[in-house]
């Protein structure tokens, strides 16, 4: 009888202790798995930043690249203005087979020296385009990250040519000569006409405009209006309004800093006998840009145009 009781006690004790160790091991493994997933995601976010450095278009005009992931991945990009230069906060979430579908509270990675426009979508393939943003002089490259498909319906010649030249796989074109490279489920973007999810309205109607669509606004499927100019069009199409306008503020502030540096450069050039008369215009332009928003892009387009023309008259003593 005693032996049986003794045997039972040992069995219960061993089972309880064993179960506890086993549970602890499983808990540890799940936690460790989550940590490694977060580590992996943080590394991906940093790697995206490195890849984007290689993509700076520079004098090439534009650059295109693709990032492919083995698992369905979500790239989140938020813009915030916690400092004058602001920042893009990138986080990457990968789909997990254990526990929650997506990582909760993913590791965030701040990028202050880039201007990233993107949509929050899941996918395995992300397309990255880079184009220069200029306000007379070059300010920075702007980067667009998309994974969804778009269809540009009857775009003006110069936009159609640019898309074709970029060889952008997820943006199709439906042109008035009957050519159609759009995918069926693609989001439609109309130029000047209604009937699409997104409508682009060109507002550049002065003689100095190269095209009616040099600046204007887009109306998205939620009825929200986003103002754009030149190379920012794709950013306005793909981004959330708040993130888009935040990035524009960051870009315009950066432009004001460049204008300030150029204005001070004039002082040094004048001392060497290389006279440049743009100082006052640049100072005024820098003040205008400091607190400018997306709504001011049209006016900035004209001011930048005038500055560029005045600068080209400077010949060798030109600033850019």
């Amino acid at each position: 009888m005693n032996k049986r009781g003794q045997y039972n006690f040992v069995l219960i004790f061993a089972s309880l202790a064993g179960a506890m160790i086993l549970l602890l091991a499983i808990y540890g493994a799940v936690k460790a798995g989550g940590t490694f997933q977060r580590q992996n995601e943080a590394e991906i976010a940093k790697s995206i930043d490195i890849v984007m450095n290689e993509l700076q278009a520079g004098f090439a005009g534009a650059a295109t690249s693709v990032i492919s992931f083995p698992k369905v991945t979500r790239i989140k990009n938020e813009c915030n203005l916690n400092s004058r230069f602001g920042e893009n906060v990138i986080s990457v979430q990968t789909k997990s087979s254990i526990g929650e579908d997506w990582t909760v509270n993913p590791q965030e990675y701040s990028i202050r020296n880039k201007y990233i426009f993107s949509e929050t979508q899941d996918g395995k393939k992300f397309y990255i385009y880079s184009k220069p943003f200029e306000t007379g002089y070059e300010v920075s490259d702007v980067i667009f990250i998309t994974t969804g498909d778009y269809c540009f319906v009857y775009p003006p010649e110069e936009i159609a040519q640019e898309i074709e030249g970029l060889n952008v796989p997820n943006i199709g074109i439906q042109s008035d000569n009957g050519n159609n490279t759009c995918k069926e489920e693609a989001k439609k973007v109309c130029f000047g006409i209604a009937g699409c999810e997104i409508k682009v309205t060109g507002e550049c109607n002065q003689q100095r405009c190269e095209s009616e669509y040099d600046f204007g606004f887009i109306t998205d499927e939620n009825g929200e209006i986003k103002y754009y100019s030149e190379n920012l069009l794709l950013g306005a199409i793909i981004s959330e309004k708040a993130d888009y306008e935040c990035n524009i503020k960051r870009l315009l502030y950066r432009s004001s800093r460049v204008a300030d540096i150029l204005s001070r450069k004039i002082d040094l050039m004048n001392m060497r006998g290389c006279n440049n008369l743009l100082k006052m215009d640049l100072d005024r332009f820098a003040i205008t840009l400091q607190n400018a928003t997306a709504e001011d892009l049209g006016d900035i387009y004209y001011l930048a145009n005038d500055l560029d023309k005045a600068n080209s008259k400077g010949g060798e003593c030109g600033l850019w």
Binding site: Q6, N53, E134, K265
Partner: protein, 167 residues
């Protein structure tokens, strides 16, 4: 007697479980230390890659570059101007320091610009002590007017970027 045997058995079992637990704890600690070493190593590799990739981006920034049509060309006037305002660009780059060095004529002494016969410009310094330098050769150019003709004069230089290293 029976109680003593039972106590022994319980003790034996307790020690056994304790040893198993200690074994797994050590195995886990070993795994964690290996992984954290890897994380550290990955961090340093990514920091280095990031700095190397940043070098060209920094050289081509409008705040420093000659113009957008030329790569790896630094405007000497812009460096002078930028040196005085670089504090407002703190945390703008993922780097610890940026220096532009004149490499010709070679000088035995490092003299900070602006000064006579200076050898380098300190564009940005985060005052970090733990960093490693990566760099590339660049042209340092400025426009001067000689006998009523404005011309651009360039000299060879080196752009050095400090990479933060984790301790």
């Amino acid at each position: 007697m029976v109680n003593k045997i039972a106590d022994m058995k319980i003790m034996q079992m307790t020690f056994m479980i304790l040893f198993v637990f200690i074994f797994f704890t050590f195995a886990f600690l070993f795994f964690v230390s290996t992984q954290s070493g890897k994380v550290n190593e990955n961090f340093n590799v990514l920091q280095k890659e990031s700095a190397i990739a940043s070098i060209e981006t920094i050289a081509n920034m409008p705040e420093l570059s000659c113009d957008s049509s030329r790569t790896l060309c630094i405007d000497e006037d812009k460096i002078v101007v930028f040196g005085s305002i670089s504090n407002s660009y703190r945390n703008f780059w993922p780097v610890a320091s940026i220096r532009v060095r004149k490499i010709f004529p070679k000088s035995a002494k490092d003299i900070k610009c602006p000064a006579t016969n200076c050898t380098y410009y300190e564009v940005y310094n985060s005052n970090q002590t733990n960093y490693k330098s990566e760099g590339t050769f660049v042209s340092i150019c400025k426009v001067v007017r000689n006998e009523n003709v404005a011309q651009e004069i360039c000299e060879p230089g080196r752009l050095d970027v400090g990479v933060k290293i984790s301790s």
